[in-house]
């Protein structure tokens, strides 16, 4: 029985074995598929001189800053579009048109206008976070139960009270979904923007430098690090959202 539970480990181990085998074939193999020992050494080296931590923290800081901007802007814009038909009619076409351009497609244009520095990256990351926030806030506010709105009207709530006491709490689960999506987008876009705009610190920059120097071991470590961090962030936010929203009766 115990052995059966380990079946899932077979393929990953085979894959790692094949990688190691390929690295030992010849010089070309060792160049493309670096031996596991080298990856281990590189990990120790990167951890030792703090390079990994510095770049990881830079990427994380960029993601959080962009995410924060995107969430604030996205909730505000989404709420405006959901609550005011006039604003919706004026803003929505432009918003949906601009939304069609892939995030990374903006990079060359933004780089020409704002340069290769922090401002460009921050703008791109916050835009990536903005789209899902606007869409989910809009949907969440639109789908508020009519009966809840009516209660608000019966109690003669003002516009602001209606928003704060009825609409926003009802839209929170949808907004939380938006934050989860925005987080994933922001993380990928932060790393992606670092690949394109080679200045400053960040996991993407670390990878690009490693590519230029053909240091496959560093790239492997970065890729694993990016995947792991993305997974951990999503997992933590899901837990957090569930905990913060536990006051809501489940339907």
């Amino acid at each position: 029985m115990k052995l059966r539970n380990l079946r899932g480990l077979l393929l990953p181990l085979l894959l790692i074995g094949a990688w190691e085998l390929a690295s030992r074939q010849d010089a070309a193999g060792a160049y493309a598929f670096v031996p596991l020992a080298t990856i281990g050494d590189a990990l120790v080296e990167l951890l030792g001189n703090g390079e990994l931590l510095v770049n990881l923290l830079a990427s994380l800081a960029r993601t959080s800053a962009g995410l924060a901007l995107g969430i604030v802007g996205g909730v505000a814009l989404g709420a405006l579009m959901a609550l005011s038909p006039l604003a919706n009619r004026l803003v929505a076409p432009l918003f949906h048109a601009l939304r069609q351009v892939p995030m990374l497609g903006w990079i060359p244009l933004i780089a020409l206008w704002l340069g290769n520095g922090e401002a460009s990256k921050l703008l791109i990351v916050s835009l990536a976070a903005l789209y899902p926030m606007v869409l989910n806030t809009f949907e969440g506010l639109r789908q508020v139960d009519v009966r809840h709105r009516e209660v608000g009207q019966v109690l003669a709530l003002g516009r602001w009270q209606q928003l704060r006491l009825v609409l926003l709490p009802a839209a929170l689960p949808s907004i939380a979904t938006g934050v989860l999506q925005a987080l994933a987008f922001a993380w990928v876009t932060a790393v992606g923007s670092e690949l394109f705009l080679a200045s400053g610190a960040g996991l993407g920059n670390l990878m690009m430098n490693a590519e230029a120097g053909a240091r496959m071991e560093i790239i492997v470590i970065c890729v694993l690090c990016i995947g792991l961090c993305g997974y951990l962030m999503t997992w933590l936010s899901t837990l957090l959202a569930r905990r913060l929203l536990r006051w809501r009766p489940t339907r």
């Binding site: 059966r4 079946r7 899932g8 480990l9 077979l10 393929l11 990953p12 894959l15 493309a32 598929f33 009619r89 004026l90 803003v91 929505a92 076409p93 432009l94 048109a97 601009l98 069609q100 351009v101 892939p102 995030m103 990374l104 497609g105 903006w106 990079i107 060359p108 244009l109 780089a111 020409l112 206008w113 993380w187 990928v188 790393v191 992606g192 690949l195 394109f196 990878m207 690009m208 490693a210 590519e211 053909a214 496959m216 790239i219 492997v220 970065c222 890729v223 694993l224 990016i226 995947g227 792991l228 993305g230 997974y231």
Partner: protein, 252 residues
């Protein structure tokens, strides 16, 4: 909606266009940084007339279709196998869900080192991007089929190929189409990103060249076309999605 109301949808795009033209006209910024809309239109017409645009577009789209077809079909096959067989799931699920966490963009430097910057690299990364959403949607779509369907199949003693082709796949089609739509949009984004970083042809390469030569007009044309293609792909699959879900509801 009255025609007048429909016209209000055009207000904000037109306002932006007018503002852009006015600011460019007033020369608040250097002319090579803020190109007037008319000039962007002219370079679009130029690129179209010389056939340059079509060439880049054809390059990008052929890569997209090749990589996407390979990735989506593999995802469909793998997803079906994983949903229907406990053995396949036990062996593959952990690896699948681990690899799924790695964003395609992050794999670009690695694949460049492994495969070089030729066609193979782009097709492989598009296939990888398409594989995971389609496989995941297939698994979830088939898992969501009511047990009774499979019980009927067992009663009729349907054989495996029949079970897959006549019951599992048709019932899971709406979920799969949604997965395909997500996969296609992502594959397009990733392809353009790859071409921006490393390519000798394609829409992304056109944009990158424009950037290096400081031809903002070319960059803007490229960005706009990227958006239009992305929208067209998403829109057409949304239509398919709606048709299929209509068919499902009507069938029940």
């Amino acid at each position: 909606m009255s025609p007048f109301k429909a016209l209000t949808w055009l207000v904000s795009p037109l306002a932006l266009l007018a503002l852009w033209a006015a600011v460019a006209d007033a020369a608040l910024f250097p002319a090579n940084l803020l190109v007037p809309p008319l000039e962007v239109w002219r370079s679009f017409a130029d690129l179209l007339a010389t056939g340059e645009l079509q060439e880049h577009l054809a390059g990008s789209l052929s890569r997209l279709s090749l990589g996407f077809a390979a990735g989506a079909l593999a995802g469909l096959a793998f997803g079906t196998a994983m949903a229907l067989s406990d053995t396949v799931e036990a062996y593959c699920a952990p690896l699948f869900h681990t690899l799924r966490q790695i964003p395609s963009i992050a794999l670009i430097p690695m694949l460049v080192l492994l495969l070089g910057i030729d066609e193979t690299f782009k097709v492989v990364i598009v296939a990888k991007t398409a594989f995971f959403p389609v496989a995941l949607a297939t698994v979830e779509g088939i898992r969501a089929i009511p047990r009774s369907h499979f019980e009927v199949a067992a009663v009729y003693r349907l054989r495996w190929p029949t079970l897959v082709a006549r019951i599992a796949l048709p019932a899971a089609v709406p979920a799969i189409v949604t997965g395909v739509r997500v996969a296609l949009t992502r594959a397009w984004v990733v392809l353009v990103a790859c071409e921006l970083l490393a390519a000798d042809s394609g829409l992304g390469q056109m944009i990158e060249m424009g950037r290096q030569m400081l031809r903002i007009d070319v960059v803007m044309v490229g960005v706009a076309i990227t958006g239009v293609i992305g929208f067209a792909l998403d829109f057409s699959l949304r239509r398919v999605e709606r048709r299929l879900s209509g068919w499902q509801v009507a069938g029940r």
